[in-house]
Amino acid sequence: MTTLDSSKEIQKSNSEVNEKHEDFRMFGLVTFLIADGMTFAGFFAAYLTYKAVNPLPDGAIYELELPIPTLNTILLLVSSATFHKAGKALLKDKNGDSQKWLFFTASLGIIFLICQLFEYFHLPFGLTDNLFASTFYALTGFHGLHVTLGTLMILIIAWQSRVNGGRVTSQNMFPLEAVELYWHFVDGIWVVLFIILYLL
């Protein structure tokens, strides 16, 4: 055995070994999303415990209005479908169509955030009013942060498939697929959040 001296030949052969590896970035992303989901699980557990153990006095109980969150649920579910369309279009090398669907998805995300802000400004309670109010804003706010990040990432991949030629194409689907998985995850969390926070 020789010591630290990586000649060019060895590096070349090593690179060949490395290229044989399958792509496990998606696996890493799924693991990360499980971790992220656990953060939400912790928040949900805290919220449900508060609901069960720390009942609010009658005067402090608010009726949440349903129209805006229902609209938001529909928006996110539709955006999941449009994102799927974007992926399909890219797979068929229709980059222009793909970008259109991506921008459509991103605008749905932005409308979601605007609706959420609208809801925040018209709610009769503020962050520090009581325990329910604090948990409400913490949960929806943390989810809104995820939607913001997701929207930014959608815009970035749309931009990359447009300007930065060859970065996101049918040959390199990973960025799009990764963001799509993340977006579906955020949608799924919203559905759970909607059921727990608004319907229960």
Binding site: L4, D5, E19, R25, L29, G37, T39, G42, Y50, T128
Partner: protein, 541 residues
């Protein structure tokens, strides 16, 4: 996501500085990152150890005469946080995991080398931030658990920095965990089955599952706690309708598994070290694997045994008592397997195996007091006394830190190509072992007799035992000196070790010492089984 990598570019080290300078650079090499974790962790260990010495000096006399009481609380908090989040977790996971796992799965690097570098480089800045939080007005003084309402009502700017620092360290830990899971499950050499992996891989897989499932919950909890402090919300503030017990549930959902995050990798490391120096195969490989997975599953469902005095309902106490007592079963299996590995082996007495045996002895004490603490009546009696402190340190110092030293003695020749001085190593072991037991064994007595933990002043009747304990702490502090001398002397003047000084059979010894940049030149060697000691001998018969 930014975790994407380009496989053929990651290992290109031609632009990296050569020689020892590469250990101070943003390297993607898993070996360099492993060493960086170890050295960085050890520096924080010295800081944390200094703080521990300050605590023991204060406790040598009943009155609070060495430092004011609030400073004592701050030092205590900083000691606990540094030792857990900056020394043990990064070193047993990050350092040894990064160094060994790619060798064990037959890979040239971790699955996500850049994520790996990010995970390490989060640690020094957030560690410095944590240390700096001591110097701002109102340093964190609520202990490493940061229980509200104490953490909300005490002066707060230091507490906020403390929270942000722990959040960053948690992020580092999650990135590391994702990397280990992907490396062990996905990056194995074709044909290498899971049941052929060395035991440390299993331990790291279990640990990483715990990290990924429980660390985010701590992150969420600390975010809520920081809202309580910054925005005056009431999640954990009883005055505003909040519930402190919810914090405890969420906190211990991470921090109980954190004990296993600290100790499971140590189990894996000792399972690697014992067979080599006893010249015997690891006893009961399959049971070892299943006991690790059993500990992972049980470790996630026992957190409330830290909260028996927090008004937990009786059914909860019953469930968590039984679940906690059950963890003794897989742990006991592992213990007996280690003893059976040593049994009848040709044991060579050197510092590595001495520290491993010290680990086994200390761990039995820690485990027995752990089973005792799982019983509700006993736990209520000794809760928040020095008995808990003794139990905890028997697991974490007597267990994990002993294994960290054992592993340093075992793998130093591989990392540097130099042998360590055995005489200094054995001296280090003797002082550490005596000092450790002198320091923490008397604390069982203190706790049973009712001395509370986390106080700067105590009843004068405990003075004599406390002084023995402080003497032990002094010995532990002194024990660092032969170790450091040994490391620095051997790095310069140590004997050449050759590639495989211990005649070990695990894959990392099949390459040169120190290993080349991509672990092996040419194809990675095949290892049929890592623990085949004496196999050819028994086949000859």
């Amino acid at each position: 996501m930014t975790i994407s990598i380009d496989p053929q570019k990651t290992n290109n080290e031609s632009l990296q500085p050569k020689g020892w300078l590469r250990y101070f650079s943003f390297s993607l090499d898993h070996k360099v990152i492993g060493i960086q974790y170890l050295v960085c962790g050890f520096l924080f260990y010295l800081i944390g150890g200094t703080l521990a010495s300050a605590i023991r000096i204060e406790l040598a006399s009943p009155m609070s005469d060495f430092m004011p009481r609030d400073v004592y609380n701050q030092v205590l908090t900083l000691h606990g946080t540094i030792m857990i989040f900056l020394w043990i977790v990064p070193v047993v996971n990050g350092a040894f995991g990064n160094y060994l796992i790619p060798f064990y799965v037959g890979a040239r690097d971790m699955a996500f080398p850049r994520l790996n570098a990010v995970a390490f480089w989060l640690i020094p800045p957030s560690g410095l931030m944590l240390v700096a939080s001591y110097f701002v007005e109102g340093a964190a003084q609520a202990g490493w658990t940061a229980y509200p309402p104490l953490s909300i009502t005490t002066p707060q700017s230091g507490q906020i920095i403390w929270i942000m620092s722990v959040l960053l360290l948690g992020g580092s830990s999650i990135f590391g965990g994702i990397n280990f899971i992907a490396t062990i499950i996905k990056l194995r050499r074709p044909g290498l089955k899971l049941m052929q992996l060395p035991m440390y891989c299993w331990a790291m897989l279990g640990t990483s599952i715990l990290v990924v499932l429980s660390t985010p919950v701590l992150a969420g909890t600390l975010i809520l706690l920081s809202f309580d402090i910054i925005a005056n919300t009431g999640f954990f503030n009883p005055v505003l309708g909040g519930n402190v017990v919810v914090y405890q549930h969420l906190f211990w959902f991470y921090s109980h598994p954190a004990v296993y995050i600290m100790v499971l990798p140590a189990f894996g490391l000792v399972s690697e070290i014992l067979p080599v120096h006893a010249r015997k195969p690891l006893f009961g490989y399959t049971t070892m694997v299943f006991s690790i997975m059993g500990i992972v599953v049980l470790g996630l469902v026992v957190w409330a045994h830290h909260m028996f005095t927090s008004g937990t309902p009786p059914w909860m106490r019953l469930f968590f008592t039984i679940a906690t007592a059950f963890i003794a079963v897989p742990t006991g299996i592992k213990f007996f397997n280690w003893v059976a590995t040593l049994w009848g082996g040709k044991i060579s007495i050197n510092s590595a195996i001495l520290f491993s045996c010290g680990f086994i002895i200390n761990f039995v004490f820690g485990g027995i007091t752990g089973v005792a603490l799982a019983q509700v009546p006993f736990d209520i009696h000794v809760h928040d006394t020095y008995f808990v402190v003794a139990h905890f340190h028997y697991i974490v110092y007597g267990g994990t830190v002993f294994i960290i030293f054992s592993s340093i003695y075992h793998w130093f020749p591989k990392v540097t190509g130099k042998m360590l001085n055995e005489k200094l190593g054995i001296l280090h072991f003797i002082i550490t072992f005596i000092g450790f037991n002198l320091c923490f064994a008397p604390q069982h007595w203190l706790g049973l007799n009712g001395m509370p933990r986390r106080v700067a002043e105590y009843d004068p009747q405990f003075q004599f035992v406390n002084q023995i304990s402080s003497l032990g702490a002094l010995l532990m502090a002194i024990s660092t000196i032969p170790f450091l001398i040994n490391i620095f002397f051997s790095l310069r003047n140590g004997n050449d070790s050759g590639d495989n000084p211990w005649n070990a059979l695990t894959p990392e010894w099949l390459t040169s010492s120190p290993p080349p940049v991509e672990n092996w030149e040419g194809e990675a060697p095949l290892v049929e089984e890592p623990y085949g000691y004496g196999k050819q001998f028994s086949e000859q018969k």
